[in-house]
Amino acid sequence: MGQNKLRLQIITPQRPVLDKRVDFVALPACNGEMGVLPGHIQYVAKLNYGVLRYKDGAQEGTFAVMGGLAEIEHNNVSVFAEDAALEDEIDIEEERQKLVKAKAALSAHDSDIDMELAEMEIKKALLLLKVKSKHPKL
């Protein structure tokens, strides 16, 4: 635990998801993946729907993050995403079901609100499935 570690925080509107000291973070920035090591310059980046990976010694972690912003400031990496899920916590079967349900809701043409919710649900489920199936390694 020294100055040479990053403090990675992932915060969503619903709850803080992660607060951890790590060695390396890869962010899904809007212009491509962006690696962050300790001592990075002050930076604010827009994030895509994508995969966030971090490395802490031998330990690795993968998150699916749903858009948002990342702020890098004095070895603090704060990620503000609409939603985030730890790869290991993603349940493929559940996401598939959600996807099917959301698609059904979309074709049912209920109300604008339901449609928008369904679209968001689909986008999220697709991302989570993608993250889970690819299982990217650092």
Binding site: T12, Q14, P16, A29, C30, I41, Q42, A45, K46, L69
Partner: protein
């Protein structure tokens, strides 16, 4: 005069109702803890978004800033002229049985409508109670800009961002440039406070912040970051209003149900006394008849 059977039936019915009230109270108090936790967990995001917006304040307030060219700049431009229309975000509950919770918000809405009598009015309403009320109104120049019902007690950030997108569209179309807000704030388990204030455009003084973001590099650029940040900032705010109202509704219901159950208990006690009185009277009557009958035989 009521018969014994009638009174017994009434006591039983009130007892059953009282049981329902107590159950509703218990459900509310269990949910309220969850709602409070949800509020707490949403706070870090909202605070950070406020800080970041504040960091960009200089860029926003600078008169040559490209941000000023964006339609979203209207959310900061308190001096905006040109559009006189009024917007309102009204948050009520989906269900009743929570005291004056909905009535207060609706009364305030009526005042708001009166205040904005002469202009076009756009209301975004959350909650069945508010929606049903507005649907019954026949007032000229009143438009329902959008409605969300049935989200409590599971209000989520997705709902908040949808509300904002609707407001944003109204603003882009120049239909509104000022949005007021009416909702119930959760003060404590035992009290709620109705809030009626201007929500947009922002008052910068209300945003806390001290950091300085001038040395940051933006990717892809400042404008894009601003455009990403703004909906999240406002969304986080709306999300908080939803959660406040959600917790306040549960607290109001808890208190209302407790008072109602207490009241039902009082009525039951009164009926119990009446029951005994009627029973005793019947017995006395019967005794009198038997005794007078026996006396008649003896004589």
């Amino acid at each position: 005069m009521q018969s014994l059977r009638d009174i017994r039936r009434e006591i039983k019915a009130i007892g059953a109702t009282r049981q329902i009230m107590l159950t509703m109270k218990r459900i509310s108090s269990a949910r309220i803890r969850k709602a409070q936790k949800q509020m707490e967990q949403g706070r870090p995001f909202a605070q950070k978004m406020a800080l970041m917006i504040d960091n960009m304040r200089r860029d926003i307030e600078n008169e040559t800033s490209p941000v000023r060219q964006l339609p979203d700049y209207k959310f900061f431009d308190a001096s905006a002229s040109g559009c006189k229309n009024a917007g309102l975000l009204l948050i009520t509950a989906d269900k009743g049985l929570c005291g004056a919770f909905n009535a207060m918000a609706i009364r305030e809405t009526l005042k708001w409508i009166k205040r904005n009598d002469s202009v076009e009015k756009y209301i975004f309403v959350v909650g069945k109670k508010g929606r049903d009320f507005l649907a019954r109104l026949k007032i000229p120049r009143l438009h329902i800009a959008g409605e969300i019902v049935g989200i409590f007690p599971r209000a989520s950030y997705a709902h908040a961002s949808m509300i904002f997108e609707t407001i944003r569209r109204l603003t882009y179309d120049n239909k509104v440039c000022k949005v007021d807000l009416i909702y119930n704030n959760f003060k404590s388990m035992s009290s709620q406070a109705l809030v009626s204030k201007t929500f947009l455009p922002f008052n910068f003084e209300e945003i806390p912040g001290e950091e300085d973001l001038s040395d940051f590099i933006f990717e892809p650029d400042m404008l894009q970051i601003f455009l990403t940040l703004l909906p999240r900032y406002i969304g986080a705010n709306i999300y908080r209003f939803l959660l406040e109202s959600q917790a306040a509704e549960l607290a109001a219901r808890m208190n209302a149900m407790e008072a109602a159950a207490e009241n039902a208990g009082g009525i039951m006690a009164g009926l119990g006394v009446q029951l005994n009185k009627v029973r005793q009277e019947t017995i006395t009557n019967e005794l009198t008849e038997i005794i007078s009958g026996a006396n008649a035989l003896e004589a």
